[in-house]
């Protein structure tokens, strides 16, 4: 008889339902007392109503996996290996909050021409290189796959710093490009979007306290909304890459030209006279 409905499975289910003490949890409690107590405190503080369910799991890894799953539903995502039950001790979850950060590291930026979606490659080409490392050649080559070279050449001398992008584009239908500029310059003001893993580990990683968890939950919601805005814009741009990218470039260049004109007009006025328009 196959195991799916055999006596072996019935015995297993019966033993599980009795809530017998788990050997691996007992070993963890004794050999890693501090880690176990810290884990209990975290569960109690953040998921009190799930405490019994979490602690009823038969191994420390399964307990952490269940905790991570419930925690993510209510607060913000944790490192995926926790949810997969891939841990060796409670310390992996207790020593600091194992957050997932999405800040743009130099390695991430370098990977844009090869790994990122076409819209984000083109938008990156419109923004000044945050690392000033001269990766423009690979990026330009990647962009040439989607739009005419002549269009890219118009942009090359006009790549935007985040501040300039916000000044030109905030409040317009192209505002997402300004957000992307902040995103790749790690200048969004959001913890999750501005922190890469190197920064996370070199600065103090976040501690498990109520204030931090609440603040990170708010930051996560903002980061999620921010990323959704970008996603929608990527989709819009990819609906007609050459046409819409051209539209975007024209809009930026026109705005910049208007700004230059306005500056010249202001400079040419006699001292003490301001223009009424």
């Amino acid at each position: 008889m196959p195991e799916a409905d055999g006596p072996l499975l019935a015995l297993g289910n019966k033993l599980s339902s009795l809530g017998l003490p788990s050997l691996s949890v007992l070993i963890a409690q004794i050999s890693d007392t501090e880690g176990y107590v810290d884990f209990l405190n975290i569960v109690h503080a953040f998921l009190p109503e799930r405490e019994q369910e979490i602690l009823h799991e038969s191994t420390p890894a399964a307990q952490v996996a269940r905790f991570a799953s419930y925690f993510e539903d209510r607060y913000f995502p944790l490192e995926p290996h926790l949810r997969d039950g891939d841990i060796e001790s409670y310390e992996e979850v207790t020593s600091f909050i194992p957050v997932i950060v999405a800040g743009m590291s130099w390695e991430d930026y370098e990977a844009i021409p090869s790994d990122y979606r076409p819209a984000s490659q083109l938008m990156t080409y419109l923004v000044a290189d945050p690392f000033e490392e001269g990766t423009d050649v690979a990026l330009a080559e990647a962009c040439e796959e989607y739009v005419p070279k002549s269009l890219l050449e118009r942009v090359a001398e006009n790549r935007l710093e985040p501040q300039e992008a916000h000044r030109l584009l905030d409040g317009t239908r192209y505002e997402a490009l300004a957000k992307w500029a902040s995103r790749i310059h790690s200048d969004t003001g959001n913890f999750f979007l501005d922190t890469d893993y190197e920064m996370l580990m070199s600065d103090m990683p976040p501690d498990w306290d109520i204030e931090t968890v609440n603040a990170l939950t708010r930051e996560w919601q903002q980061a999620d909304a921010f990323e959704n805005t970008l996603s929608k814009f990527f989709e819009w741009l990819e609906g007609d890459l050459p046409g819409r990218f051209g539209e975007l470039v024209n809009f930026i260049l026109e705005k910049k030209a208007n700004e230059r004109k306005a500056t010249r007009r202001t400079k040419s006025l006699p001292v003490g006279v301001t223009r009424r328009d």
Binding site: M1, E3, G6, L8, L11, P21, L23, I30, T33
Partner: protein
């Protein structure tokens, strides 16, 4: 595998008393949780008991695996 077969196999498994369970009582503190000081005091004994429990756990897993295989290949 029939239920009777499984019962016959399990009856042949010798009873085992793991030292870890009796030691666990010794290291519980007043709050009902493990007291690290008591653990430290009984460190050598606990380490041996943990090794014994881990070995037993490994053997049990192997036995369960064998039972599953028997189950899969039995008519």
């Amino acid at each position: 595998m029939k239920t009777k077969q499984l019962i016959r196999i399990l009856k042949k498994v010798p009873e085992t008393h793991l030292r870890l369970f009796s030691l666990a009582h010794k290291v519980i503190g007043e709050g009902g949780t493990v007291d690290p000081n008591k653990v430290a005091f009984n460190y050598k004994e606990i380490k041996e008991a943990i090794d014994e429990a881990k070995a037993y756990s490994g053997d049990t897993k192997e036995a369960v695996q064998c039972l599953k295989q028997m189950d899969r290949f039995s008519p």
